[in-house]
Amino acid sequence: MDVQNKYASLDDEALVRSAQKGNKNAFEELVARHRDKVYGRLMIMIKNENDALDLSQEVWIKAWKRLKQFHGDAAFCTWITRIAINVGVDHIRKQKRKKYESIEDHIEESGSIERLMPIEIVNPAQGLEREELRARIDKALEQLSPEHRSVVILHEFEGLEYKEIAKMLKCSMGTIMSRLFYARKKLAHLLAGLKKERLQ
C-alpha cells in the first residue's frame, strides 16, 4: 500500500490527529480532500483565478501552523472554510479601490437602484439543468461587489447568522441586512432576466 492510499482510508479526524503530531503526509491528504472547497469559496468571493490559487495556498499554510489550535469542536471542513473566508475577506479589504469608497460604493451600499426594481419571483425548477443553473448563479454572483458577495456566501452557503457575519466582516448588523437584501434582489433580477432570455 503506497503512502497516498494509506492515508486515503483514514477519516478527517484521524488525519488531523496525525498531522497535529507533524505528519505531513496526513496533512497532504487533508489538503487533497478539501482543496476544491477552499479554492471554490475564495474563487466565488474574489473572482480571480490566480489570486484564489495564491490565497488557497496561504489558507493551507495558515492551517498547518494553527493545526494545534483545532480541537475538533466543528468539522475540519468547517474550520478550514472559516480560515478561507477570513483570508478572502482580508484580501477584499486590501483590494478595495478608492472608487468603491466614493459615490459608486454609496450607491451600491444603499442598493437604491435595485430596490426600485420590480419584484421578480424566480422559479428554480423551471426548465434549467442543475449545472446550467449553478453556472448562471455563479455568473450572477460575479456581478455583485465583493462585499455583497461575501455576505451572500456567509449567509446562504455557510449558514451564518447576521450577528456572526457582522462580526466577521467588522460592520453593523444593519449593513449586513441591507447588503443581503440588495444582493438577493439583484440576484433575483439577474436570474429572472436569464430565464426570460431562455424562454425567447
Binding site: 497532504e28 482543496r35 419584484i119 446562504e156
Partner: protein
C-alpha cells in the same frame, strides 16, 4: 407601499432572525399587504435558489503541484524558525543527557577560562594626563601607574615652564609635590 425598514423586517423574518413578537407583526403585515407578501416570496425564492445550487468550482491545478507549493512554503518557514529557543532546547538536552555532561561541562569551563584570561591579560595602562586649571600661574599633570597602584600629580609654575619648554622637560624638582 411598504418601507425599506419593513422589507428588511420581512427578510429577517425569512431568515429566522426575529423575536416571536416581531415575527407576529411581520406575519400580520404579509397577511394584510399584497406587496409585503410578494417581497417575502421574492426573497425566499432567491434564498432557496442559492442555498440549493451552490456553484461547484474545481481547482485548476493537480493535487501534486498544489501540494508541492504548500510543502515548499512550510519547509521554508520551518527552516527559518530555528530560533534561540531551539538552541536552548538543544543545550538543555545535552546537559540532561549524562553521556554529554562531561564534554559539555568541560567546554563551558574552557570558554569561561578563556574569557577570564582574556580579561586579565589586558596590558596594564600607565598614562600621563594634563589637567586643565583655571589658574594662569599654576598647571598640573597626573600620572597613573596601574602595576604599582600609584597616582601622582605634578603641580608646576606656568611662567617657569613656558620659559623652559614644558613639552621636552616637564618637571622641575622644586615644582614637584607628591600627593
Amino acid at each position: 407601499m411598504i418601507t425599506l425598514e419593513q422589507k428588511l423586517k420581512i427578510q429577517a423574518y425569512l431568515d429566522g432572525e426575529l423575536s416571536q413578537s416581531e415575527a407576529k407583526k411581520v406575519e400580520f403585515l404579509m397577511a394584510s399587504d399584497q406587496e409585503a407578501k410578494q417581497v417575502f416570496e421574492e426573497l425566499k425564492c432567491a434564498a432557496d435558489l442559492l442555498q440549493n445550487n451552490e456553484p461547484e468550482i474545481k481547482m485548476p491545478i493537480s493535487r501534486e503541484l498544489f501540494w508541492n507549493r504548500i510543502y515548499n512554503e512550510i519547509q521554508k518557514d520551518e527552516d527559518e524558525s530555528v530560533s534561540v529557543f531551539d538552541y536552548i532546547r538543544h543545550l538543555k538536552y545535552l546537559l540532561l543527557n549524562t553521556k554529554y555532561l562531561v564534554p559539555v561541562a568541560a567546554t563551558i569551563i574552557a570558554l569561561i577560562s578563556i574569557f577570564l584570561i582574556k580579561d586579565f591579560a589586558k596590558p596594564i595602562e600607565d598614562y600621563l594626563v594634563s589637567i586643565e586649571t583655571t589658574s594662569e600661574e599654576v598647571g598640573s599633570y597626573s600620572f597613573r601607574v596601574q602595576s604599582e597602584n600609584m597616582f601622582v600629580v605634578w603641580i608646576y609654575n606656568k611662567d617657569k615652564s613656558d620659559e623652559k619648554n614644558i613639552e621636552s622637560d616637564l618637571i622641575y624638582d622644586d615644582d614637584l609635590f607628591l600627593q
